[in-house]
Symmetry: D2
Subunit: 360 residues, 4 copies
Amino acid sequence: MAVGSLTRKHPARLAKRSSPRGCDLPQIAVVGLGYWGPNLVRNFHAQPGCRLKTCCDVDARRLDAVHADYPAIGLCADAGEILADPQITAVVIATPVATHFPLAKAALLAGKSVLIEKPLTANVAQAEELVALADERGLTLMVDHTFIYSPAVARIKQLVDSGELGELLFIDSVRINLGLIQPDVNVVWDLAPHDLSIVDHLLGRLPRSVSAFGAAHAGRGQEDVAYLNLDFGDGLIANFHVNWLSPVKLRYTRLGGSRKSVVYNDLETAEKIKVYDSGVDVRGDDPDSRRQRLVDYRTGDVWSPHLSREEPLARVAEQFIECLTRGVRPPSDGQAGLRIVRVLDAAQRSLRARGARVEL
Amino acid sequence: MAVGSLTRKHPARLAKRSSPRGCDLPQIAVVGLGYWGPNLVRNFHAQPGCRLKTCCDVDARRLDAVHADYPAIGLCADAGEILADPQITAVVIATPVATHFPLAKAALLAGKSVLIEKPLTANVAQAEELVALADERGLTLMVDHTFIYSPAVARIKQLVDSGELGELLFIDSVRINLGLIQPDVNVVWDLAPHDLSIVDHLLGRLPRSVSAFGAAHAGRGQEDVAYLNLDFGDGLIANFHVNWLSPVKLRYTRLGGSRKSVVYNDLETAEKIKVYDSGVDVRGDDPDSRRQRLVDYRTGDVWSPHLSREEPLARVAEQFIECLTRGVRPPSDGQAGLRIVRVLDAAQRSLRARGARVEL
Amino acid sequence: MAVGSLTRKHPARLAKRSSPRGCDLPQIAVVGLGYWGPNLVRNFHAQPGCRLKTCCDVDARRLDAVHADYPAIGLCADAGEILADPQITAVVIATPVATHFPLAKAALLAGKSVLIEKPLTANVAQAEELVALADERGLTLMVDHTFIYSPAVARIKQLVDSGELGELLFIDSVRINLGLIQPDVNVVWDLAPHDLSIVDHLLGRLPRSVSAFGAAHAGRGQEDVAYLNLDFGDGLIANFHVNWLSPVKLRYTRLGGSRKSVVYNDLETAEKIKVYDSGVDVRGDDPDSRRQRLVDYRTGDVWSPHLSREEPLARVAEQFIECLTRGVRPPSDGQAGLRIVRVLDAAQRSLRARGARVEL
Amino acid sequence: MAVGSLTRKHPARLAKRSSPRGCDLPQIAVVGLGYWGPNLVRNFHAQPGCRLKTCCDVDARRLDAVHADYPAIGLCADAGEILADPQITAVVIATPVATHFPLAKAALLAGKSVLIEKPLTANVAQAEELVALADERGLTLMVDHTFIYSPAVARIKQLVDSGELGELLFIDSVRINLGLIQPDVNVVWDLAPHDLSIVDHLLGRLPRSVSAFGAAHAGRGQEDVAYLNLDFGDGLIANFHVNWLSPVKLRYTRLGGSRKSVVYNDLETAEKIKVYDSGVDVRGDDPDSRRQRLVDYRTGDVWSPHLSREEPLARVAEQFIECLTRGVRPPSDGQAGLRIVRVLDAAQRSLRARGARVEL
């Protein structure tokens, strides 16, 4: 076998290697290596535009697992070490929700930008405080609303913005799975942020009111099945079904428009998005047309646009780095995180009030 | 080709032919030949145990269509002729909802038993009056809750009654389609009776309270998209999504149990029912078990019991004839129809109150 | 309820009724009321352009069943009565394959046009004789290649003819089911005519050679599982899988083109046809591009054109009537039937020769 | 956040760490880092029972990519360095097929055991020589027939061996994809080894004869679409469809048995295996039973056994290490690899002879 030169490198890695200590690259730390953390570590480690310097977790086995895969990354069990490290300019927080606020606040006060897992915080006041703090200090506060960085949601946004769907009539989302029952939050705070951030990104506005209905089994007082009803006014309603107890895993978002409709099946590999060129033609009750309308209930073509295979979390990492280096504001900034928390908080109050509608 | 005898008949037809005028068989009339009526005509015509004597509709084209297929069936445009016919002992009513009550009342007063399309009536008072009237007169009042006569729902009821599912935790139903927008009722009154009658049949009890949330497009003031939330107490909740505007046709009922779960996909030909032998094991938050629980979210086998291909409406017809001839009481009697109307009425009030919970 | 006039009729029925004895309409007979016959009876009875005068079968129960649904249709157990009836100008033959030839020949000799079930005959010589006979007598000889009259195949033919698919590279068909094991033919003669007639219709030419491979279980010496390999030259090959023993029912036809590909799933109600705008770009073996090509194996949009719900067999009936009344030649004429039989005969010889290739 | 001890380790890693140079663990090298190589690197690196010492490839970028993820692994561009390294006792070969033989032979001659990508070699003579050489030297020669180490195939083997399927009647496999067109082999040599190794593992015997039919597009003279017909005698036949040009990715294996049938859909995450409790009951041609058999074509339950999520390649690595440390013989030993190459060679000859049957 011919000997190939080992000196050739592709630009990306070249850039990285050219600064062995990465002094000219933002240095980042990841706090929290539970379920999602390792994905953040993998993606930030793969980003040429930054250096992942340190990982932190109280569980030694998790640190050990990171070390086995990435020996060059520093480890610590105390987030204080990260906050005290002047080289680290940004912290990625993937800890339990209850700890988001204290950690993020400490990081911002230490002059570090923050990327934080959804939901931004456990309540509205905390979110408002973080947003204000980041603005004061001129630091980036970004929330990891992963889905809005997916090629699928980006494509749907194009369809919505272009008016191709016509007037939006309803949004129906199903996010159910035999999933991880979180110790500290209910299924609404765990799963609904995905749907809320997608809809917030597509519509760019909050619902006027929300009601929520659910049930808590497994005797923890935390809902593991819930339904959210959102009213956006102008006849647009949304319903989200979030469920930790379903043996079948489903991730659907359906947008019904006056001209076309979209079904987004996130579990589909080949045809994640389908656009239905069909609608309801409200004719009189001529019996024949009525019968025909029922039988021929699909009046148009179906089209599934090609999507890139890009990993959304890679885009999140790129976006965060771009915020750090160019000072741009991300689509999922603190304000977006705050909007989501406001709706979650309203939904929580509705749950407690047995589904009473809560205005926003 | 050999000549085969034309005299041999199978028993069923034999019985029928032996009484050319069918004097000894209950004689039946069908009123209303719109979308569903022709299916009733086809099924009652095929029943050896009765004679379908007359069909009635105001639309001559519909009568003409019946005549083309069944020349032996009498036709009329005025239901009064049927009520005046002493030979006709039972009337099948498949007219618009608003006409159910006057027609059914007149039929009962004329001493005729009644099979009526769902929903039984347009309000509770009407339903109560019909139930009382039928009981007084000792006549059969049956509602065509077709689905409860399907092999699929019968099989699910066995699973529920046997305790194989454990404790029921949630019921989630989706019944959406680019469907016929009814002129006189909204999507709740049109589609939810299917889901309500299925759940009523499976549980044998009313929900404690209901809330409903929907939107009316096409400027008719009638909801064409709606969600019902039902609270059955003991942690059991149900949610129904009914929708006339979906380009995709879906008919799902999911029952989540503490031991097993069932998914009933009515549009599936081969595997309408799937039983999932899986559940949630609420372990501590040991990080590894947590990760594993997420990854291995399906912990048991899936089993799809074989179902007969019997047409549910044929069973409805058989059941009604059995009521007429043997005086048995059908599972979907007037009381069942009344229970469904009570929930529909409560849902209607909740819709008007923007989703406020209504106790039953 | 208002009285509606019974005099109004739609044009179609008007035409029919205006000639109570239908003297001016071609009078037709159906011979053979087994599995497919009743579908032919239903469709020809529904056609305004003809009168279905007589049905024939040796099995009295089948005649009885037709009588119950269509009392106006005459019945007989001896096809001779039909051939002797001067009013009947066309015969529809749906009997076992072995009887196609004698019945069709007798009908043509009696001066009657013929629509015959696929396959046209049990061997090539018989098919050639029928084709010649029909031409001599100037009678219509049409084969019921139902699928080529379906909206799906019509749409695919447009795609092929328009060149939108580019050069055809392969055709792959799967037609498997836990199906009726025919008493007198093997699975190739029973199911492959569907695929052969579809491909013959799309390409308009015979394959150059065919090989067939199968197995006979249930000790009848008749193959119940078989594979046909067709070589059309110019790099176009086709493979058909026909199977009576599959617990899963599948009806797929896949056409791979140099520009686009089509998948036709006949069991799909909503999206029978999918057009894939993707192809293989044969780049060098640059490792990165190779990896990317594997990962991103779907490079284009998917499009599912809307299709009408028309029943193919209704189109077959219309087409046959048009042949009778206007003397047009149908796409599935005797010549098409003969082409299919030639391939079936070659496949049969290949089966006997353990898959040896047979030139056509 | 509390400080956690960094000294605790789980046993696996402990074992590994306790021998920093891993002297007591077999030391392994991976040659070839193209498409599959990196998966082998990941899995062997994760195995506690061995030490992945060196990776080799002529492409510096691939070495660089491995270095970025696993800095501790040695790199080289010349396989000779590995063969000369006395610490390395086993070589994993994932290079193009043409190089399998020279590399594996050199490794065996150097006294190193070998795990080699499928297919074992490019022809029968080479495979026979490697098998003989490994036996002489008492070294392990294992082929990476990944699928036979999957939970799905293991479960199917249980079903076959237990006799639950009854007598096997047919095996039908579809492995199609818009896939990587290999530079040096055709689609048969690239994809069919998967199906052949699965069937060889399930049946434990070679087919008696094989015929193959395909077409080469993209003007390379290498088939990119092909069909293999295998005859196992006793009425058991198998057909494999392998295709690089399909826009739809499919990976099906269907086993039809006299009692039950299995469908294995490798792309399905939740229900990879379905067992159909149905079969064909060859009754006489009583018309009614015939009609019923057609309509009710599914006569039994469907059952999908739960499968573990274990990665098959991890099992391959474990198995290879077990061979190295305990001297066991793997299911996919050189003999198995040789059997597969024999069938591939026969298929190749059949392709050249336009599908002529080749005895084995």
